[in-house]
Subunit: 435 residues, 2 copies
Amino acid sequence: MSIRTRPGADHPRAEQSDDSAPSRRSVLRGAVAGSLAAGSLATGARAAEPTAEAANLPPNIPEWMKAPGAPTGEQPYGLPSPFEKTVVRNISKTLPQTISASSRTPLQDLDGIITPNGLFYERHHGGVPAIDPAAHRLMLHGLVERPLVFTMEELRRFPSQSRIHFLECSGNPVYTKPYGKTASDLVGLVSCAEWTGVPLRLVLAEAGLKPQAKWIVAEGADAAALTRSVPLEKCLDDALLVYSQNGERLRPQQGYPLRLLLPGFEGNMSVKWLRRLKAVAEPAYSREETSKYTDLMPDGSAREFTFIMEAKSIITRPSGGQRLTSTGYHEITGLAWSGRGKVSRVEVSVDGGASWQDAELQAPVLTRALTRFRLPWRWDGQATTIQSRAIDETGYVQPTLADLVAVRGTNSFYHNNAIWPWRIEANGEVSNAQA
Amino acid sequence: MSIRTRPGADHPRAEQSDDSAPSRRSVLRGAVAGSLAAGSLATGARAAEPTAEAANLPPNIPEWMKAPGAPTGEQPYGLPSPFEKTVVRNISKTLPQTISASSRTPLQDLDGIITPNGLFYERHHGGVPAIDPAAHRLMLHGLVERPLVFTMEELRRFPSQSRIHFLECSGNPVYTKPYGKTASDLVGLVSCAEWTGVPLRLVLAEAGLKPQAKWIVAEGADAAALTRSVPLEKCLDDALLVYSQNGERLRPQQGYPLRLLLPGFEGNMSVKWLRRLKAVAEPAYSREETSKYTDLMPDGSAREFTFIMEAKSIITRPSGGQRLTSTGYHEITGLAWSGRGKVSRVEVSVDGGASWQDAELQAPVLTRALTRFRLPWRWDGQATTIQSRAIDETGYVQPTLADLVAVRGTNSFYHNNAIWPWRIEANGEVSNAQA
């Protein structure tokens, strides 16, 4: 075993007087601001000219450098800057908050693919229960050899896995009402996190499934006792019993202390506050898979058990409510995802759909995870419409709203994965092109 | 373009009366708890027997299901459960908080590789400044063709990148004082996040570097005006000017609104609250790269500019301060990382270093990111010592503390990447084997 150091790193420190080095003092004395030239920026970003705001330009010392800042101990659990107080979840004012409510992730203000836990979207059917993890139990029963009850400590003894996956409400957006001004208004019921928990198949193996078992009915410990039926093949595939999200334990709004996670399936099937799993031969036909979360078709039939969230994408910058302040270079960026696996391509149109270009996908592209895409673009100052469409690894192409309506009609409520265009006016204002 | 649905998903919903389905009511009536058998759990996790705690077992309705829970609007920006109030940053009581202070990530309580922003470690030299992003400026000057000053808005116009990287203080842990009880006490000055920002090389290209420029001196806008010299090759490689962390804007403690990020380099070089970059021919020999952050060798010379954090790992569970409550199956899990690239292997010993086994690495393994490892283990109830060692893609093997001391002596303070063993007593208590 060798201890390798950087080549040259073991050289003794050279004798060096403070005078010979470009000390901070001499740099600060330099009349740098006066010599600034506005560069011809290839990216289109403009250099600030030193004008009346010179008090805050680097040769001067801003107020916050003149005295020690806040102590470390002030926030044992940290919070965002007060200057970011508008970056919060977008909460509907019209829904009864403890009966059926939601809050949306501010996608237009976020970067990357990880949604911070404080901004992860919420959807509750009976409010957020305050569960003592020491008193919480998970029961596994029904068509099993050995019915079992687990404490949280026992579940944490199982082999664990961590994976980055998106989670999305199936009503994101409601497609018969193309309301909403921002990306959050439209598709803010999607977020993405690194989840840690136990593969459900390991827990099922402990109980021993009987051959007749074809579905697992999952029940939450909220006041709604939210109940969904999950096909056994999904339970034996990538389903997780999750206790942590982005490193720390689940937030109460995300099912603390335990939730089911069914990657790629509509969000409410990933039952929060999970208390019970029953192995059965037929689905439960619960409220949330019959009167809700089914798609009424033009012929009066209902698509049911439409679990998988199909490929979708949205441009988050520039997006509705934002404004382009100058012509020239802008990065178009957004998010794409598919419940069927990886996103293989995202195409962007900047001319109302007449032509499409491939966007760059941020690596690594992960299965059933948000995928960040980016396209360099020069805006010529003319009014136009921009939009993105995702193609997943199965070859499926995100449809237009017209394509979707042609197949599903207008009675449907859930599973709208249509392309969502943004209108850019000549003054730079960006708005929902279908509102 | 076709709109594909799940095979069979378009079937009309079968007529089904509530009586024929296993309704929630009938399930709850069933005397399931009475039929529980303690399974012979291959994993060692035990099924809870229904005893005096039966009031909380699933056939009964816990208190939190009997009334609606908290409303959605209660937390526009969410927080952890009150039951997790002890999972906070570990703050030294002995350091003057506004002069030179730190707080540590509670690694032993976390899962996966992402550190939530509220628990990301901190290290400040002059407290946390409260910076108004609209007034913040970055100046780029020195050996450049066009000195430039940027607003935050201008920096956000540049092409962006998002990458997951660890960040680590070079004094993690201080190796001449093997104090500390927990994983956080020892190596809690490391965390990992998805960072978004502008490749520094693009910003440098805007200004146009002169051929004499070999270093970039970075200065922070805190009261310490923390200053470090960065070799130009790193600036042109993977350095980022970061404005977002785990999706949202940087927290004040992490440099809001702008920080440098030098993946794999010692943490303080990733200058927070970044206000100035000066291109120079020689390093600045600032306080934090001369009197601090150099390694005093046995012969009296000092290793300086030892930027790269070498391969390291730590078992986080079981770890110091925890207790094994029973023999049988336990998952050993921990974190490994290397400033030189990807972790290629982690070996774990459960017998005091006599033998080593390969742990499983959580995919995807990312360059200069924390890597979660796991090893299934059956504890026989005997006292023993467990430890891990990381091997990175360059072939470098994490050394023992004795190996490190043999080369560096005992004057050194920083860059301790030694193996850290945990002692497990016969009663299950886990403690620092080198304390």
